[in-house]
């Protein structure tokens, strides 16, 4: 077990459907008031882009029931909106804790970016259990970095 005093750099990995409050709480508890550099990595999955590749998919408006073709542009917009929402929520959670998380977006398909993150000397990685098989985690575990998987139920998309 890593001594709290030695935790200087922490990565918090989240997905679009992760319950942020629980993950953040785990982080705060783990640090127990210690100062550390926190980087939040929003692991953006490619579901929307995959859907958008299908030529027959449409988005049905919740209010009017109107149908609009679901395009790559719309998929990208949804991803950006999700990142924005998560970043804002994290800032709210971090307010008053003395922590100033840096926010990064990692597309699951961006291999180069994945390698860059692996090379960083993380003292602790906190991630939802859904990311158990995510290559970044596997690699970090292999490099004997401390990984804390938080058992949370992902929200439906």
């Amino acid at each position: 077990m890593t001594d709290v005093a030695h935790i200087r750099r922490v990565m918090l990995a989240v997905t679009e459907t992760s319950p942020l409050e629980k993950l953040w709480q785990s982080l705060v508890e783990k640090l127990a008031g210690a100062r550390a550099e926190v980087v939040t990595v929003f692991v953006r999955d490619d579901t929307w882009h995959r859907v958008a590749t299908l030529p027959f998919t449409v988005e049905i408006s919740r209010i009017s029931g109107a149908r609009v073709a679901f395009t790559q542009q719309r998929a990208e917009q949804l991803g950006e909106d999700a990142a924005g929402r998560i970043r804002q929520r994290l800032e709210q959670l971090a307010a008053g804790t003395g922590l100033h998380p840096v926010f990064e977006v990692l597309k699951a398909t961006e291999v180069g970016e994945l390698h860059r993150l692996v090379e960083v000397e993380w003292d602790l990685l906190i991630a939802p259990s859904v990311l158990r098989d995510f290559p970044l985690l596997a690699e970090l575990a292999r490099r004997q970095r401390q990984v804390l998987l938080v058992e949370v139920e992902e929200q439906s998309k």
Partner: protein, 806 residues
């Protein structure tokens, strides 16, 4: 000559006729005065009082009253007094309220309640509102209500969930995932729990691909139709909640309003209103529990605003133990008469509602009497038309003048009209009454009763006694020092002077009050305990001094020979006429020189004043009459071959009236006969075609005006004024004039014919035609006739010579 002197003496007005002294006040002379009699307030106005009683008593359409008479004649007080007497016999009229019209808020309802119950009803409604303000939100806080509400909400949620689950279930069965975006849903095929992309999709057999697409299409349509049905579900839910709210509110409101409805069951308007109010409260039950903060503070629309709509706007309130109202509106503007609808500015817009309706004096006086000054009504825009409209329709319709004229551009209220039953008493001067009668065709139908106030009253023994009592009442009202008998007598005399008649007393109470107050002032100045005759004289004298600037300037101009007036010697064709200047509150007289020149001519008497348009119509008429008198007296059978011109010397303003026609004729006679006129005399009077001298106005001021000039130059007993005999009764001369006559330093002659005036002015016999129709040879008239015949002969001769030359 002796005969002429004897005749002049006979024409002299006796001293006692120059000023009729008040010798007795009857019982009113007793100090302290006796209790005033009832007739005091109606002194001299018997006809007016009778007419007023008739007008006030006859309660039929159109029998409104117009009180006409001069200002200061107690028109208002007498009209109000009689109206109040009649009103005291009538019960207090109903109260009127404006209330919200729940089905049409732009047309507020007018509610009628018995006197006194309007206030009660308004207070009851306020109490009810307070109860509702507390009771209804409390109901919504009750556990039972909350549970029912939660159950309804859960019901809706469950219904939506069920539909949603059904879609998910169907989709999952077909390997379709229902993904949610922030604004909608996306249906996509899945494999092993993961959405497949186009590449994976293309690898699927065609049948599978077609099946997936068809399923997504069907599920999409199903989803779409369920989404479209959601508003219906929510509406249904809203209606359920609303029904629940109404149920709980209805129970509470019914209980709260039960007593109120029973209390006002006998007032039809109110009973109907309460039913509607109750239903409205129930219909708007949800508004009473609104607690959410508004998006913007100034948009706050909480239940207190809603509760305002159940307020009662009491526009007419009467006390049940009072009698019918008598209202005097000092400023009868349109809005003061009819009422108005006020507005409040909110977010740059002008808003209004029934609570901002304000009643006018027509409503205040409804069921009673409304006293108005007609000149003020006519002077206020739209007021006269509004008043007539109200009387015609017998309704008060409160709306803005712009609305009445159709100029309103914004939505405003149209309150229900209120039935009108009021007697209007207009007070005004006579000329306004006659003008309205002549030019306003509706006037006669609306104001059928004319009440004509007399300007003065006969100076009988009884009236003097009553007048003295009236004086005492006024003294009491103004809390003046007591007036002794001499003061009251002097006031009585002055009232005759103000009436311009020794046999009448002025009924201008305003000027009486002024005299009393000013006499009191002078008595106090000398630290007296009571007012005496000398104080009354001081008041009269000082008023004359205060207002006498113009008079003193004219006298000064005469004394410095700027205005040429001779008061001694004789002169042909020149006579002292007398003029009066009226400055409204003060009149004075002064002499004017009238001259006449004559020569042979064609019978023209030229009035220079008329030629230069300085002579008024009546003055011109006077000159034409004297021309006719000249012809009929001296040239009845020969053509008048004279050219004469008459002028008011040094008169640069207008000349009006015919009171100088005697003087003008005398100047003409003097010029024709070449007989000089005495300049120590002045003359006033009008003349008819037969040579009869007729009465004129302002005779006192005229005499005093000439007297003043002569007095300053030195009275020698030769100075006098000639007046018409018919004016003797009007004489109320100043004490100093009377004193001068007593001392034979001054005289007043009263003449009935032009011949008497000629004799006095020329000092020569005028001459009467004898049986042969001829004047005595040495008479003035003979000389006039002789000269006129000579002119006619000469003219005839000139005519013949001219014809021969042609």
């Amino acid at each position: 000559m002796a005969e002429i002197l004897a005749r002049a003496t006979r024409l002299a007005v006796p001293t006692e006729r120059l000023r009729t002294i008040c010798t007795s006040l009857g019982e009113a002379g007793a100090r302290p005065p006796a209790q005033p009699t009832v007739s005091v307030s109606q002194l001299g106005q018997a006809r007016a009082v009778e007419s007023l009683r008739f007008g006030i008593g006859l309660e039929r359409e159109g029998y409104n009253v117009f009180v006409l008479g001069p200002p200061g004649s107690r028109r208002h007080s007498l009209a109000t007094e009689l109206a109040e007497a009649r009103a005291s016999e009538k019960k207090a009229p109903d109260d009127w309220c404006y209330a919200n019209n729940f089905s049409d808020p732009e047309r507020p309802r007018a509610l009628r309640l018995p006197a006194g119950r309007g206030t009660e009803f308004r207070d009851d409604m306020r109490a009810l509102i307070e109860d509702i303000r507390i009771a209804i939100p409390a109901i919504f806080e009750e556990e039972d209500y909350r549970n029912q509400l939660k159950a309804l909400e859960a019901e809706l949620q469950q219904e939506i969930e069920e539909q949603w689950e059904e879609i998910r279930r169907k989709a999952a069965k077909e390997d379709i995932s229902v993904l949610q975006t922030p604004s909608g849903y996306v249906l996509a095929p899945v494999h092993d729990g993961k959405v497949i992309d186009d590449e994976q999709f293309e690898k699927l057999p065609k049948e599978k691909r077609d099946s997936i697409q068809a399923t997504i299409k069907t599920l999409g349509e199903d989803l779409q139709s369920r989404i479209e049905s959601l508003p219906r579900l929510r509406k249904k839910q809203y209606e359920r909640v609303r029904a629940l709210d109404q149920d709980v509110t209805a129970h509470a409101v019914t209980v709260l309003m039960q007593d109120l409805k029973a209390k006002y069951a006998d007032v039809a308007d109110v009973a109907a209103y309460l039913e509607e109010a109750e239903q409205d409260i129930i219909d708007n039950a949800q508004e009473f529990r609104q607690t959410d903060e508004p998006a913007l503070p100034f948009l706050h629309q909480d239940s207190s605003v809603l509760l305002m709509s159940y307020e009662i706007n009491l526009v007419v309130s009467n006390k049940p133990d009072n009698h019918a109202p008598v209202v005097y509106e000092v400023n009868p503007s349109y809005t003061n008469l009819v009422g108005k609808i006020e507005h409040r500015a909110e977010m740059g817009a002008l808003l209004t509602d029934f609570s901002m309706i304000r009643g006018g004096t027509l409503l205040q006086a409804n069921g009673g009497y409304l006293v108005l000054d007609i000149h003020r009504v006519l002077g206020r825009p739209f007021a006269w038309e509004a008043l007539k409209q109200a009387l015609f329709t017998r309704q008060v319709r409160i709306e803005s003048p712009a609305d009445t004229l159709g100029f309103a551009t914004t939505t405003t209220l149209k309150p229900e009209p209120i039935p009108l039953d009021v007697k209007i008493i207009l007070v005004g001067e006579r000329w306004l009454y006659y003008l309205l009668s002549l030019y306003d065709k509706e006037f006669g139908g609306l104001f059928k009763v004319a009440v004509d106030f007399d300007d003065d009253v006969k100076r009988t023994t009884d009236n003097v006694e009553t007048y003295a009592q009236l004086i005492d009442i006024r003294i009491g009202e103004y809390e003046l020092l007591p007036f002794d008998e001499s003061a009251v007598k002097r006031i009585i005399e002055q009232r005759s002077r103000q009436a311009d008649d020794s046999e009448r007393l002025s009924m201008n109470i305003r000027s009486l009050d002024d005299l009393l107050v000013e006499a009191d002032y002078w008595a106090r100045q000398r630290e007296a305990k009571s007012v005496e005759a000398s104080d009354v004289v001081a008041a009269i004298t000082h008023k004359k001094i205060r207002l006498g600037r113009v008079e003193s300037r004219i006298i000064d101009a005469i004394q410095r020979d700027t205005l040429l007036i001779d008061t001694s010697g004789k002169c042909v064709g020149q006579v002292n006429g007398l003029s009066v200047v009226d400055l409204g509150d003060y009149r004075f007289g002064y002499p004017v020189r009238i001259t006449a020149t004559t020569r042979i001519g064609t019978g023209d008497v030229v009035d220079i004043e008329r030629e230069v348009k300085l002579g008024g119509a009546i003055h011109s008429k006077g000159v034409l009459i004297l021309s006719s008198a000249l012809t009929s007296r001296y040239a009845p059978e020969t053509p008048l071959s004279l050219h004469a011109s008459i002028v008011f010397e040094q008169s640069y303003g207008g000349v009006e009236g015919d009171s100088a026609s005697v003087a003008e004729l005398c100047a003409l006679v003097s010029s024709i006969a070449k007989v000089p006129i005495r300049q120590n005399l002045a003359c006033t009077g009008s003349i008819n075609q037969l040579g009869r001298v007729q009465a004129v106005g302002g005779v006192n001021e005229k005499i005093e005006g000439f007297f003043e000039i002569c007095r300053q130059r030195g009275l020698d007993g030769s100075h006098a004024v000639i007046i018409p005999r018919d004016n003797v009764k009007h004489l109320m001369l100043r004490e100093d004039v009377v004193e001068a006559v007593q001392q034979e330093k001054f005289a007043v002659y009263a003449v009935e014919t032009i011949d008497e005036a000629i004799e006095l002015l020329t000092g020569q016999p005028a001459g009467e035609r004898d049986d042969n129709g001829e004047f005595p040879v040495d008479s003035v008239n003979h000389r006039v006739e002789e000269r006129l015949i000579r002119y006619a002969t000469q003219r005839k001769q000139f005519g013949k010579e001219a014809a021969k030359n042609d």
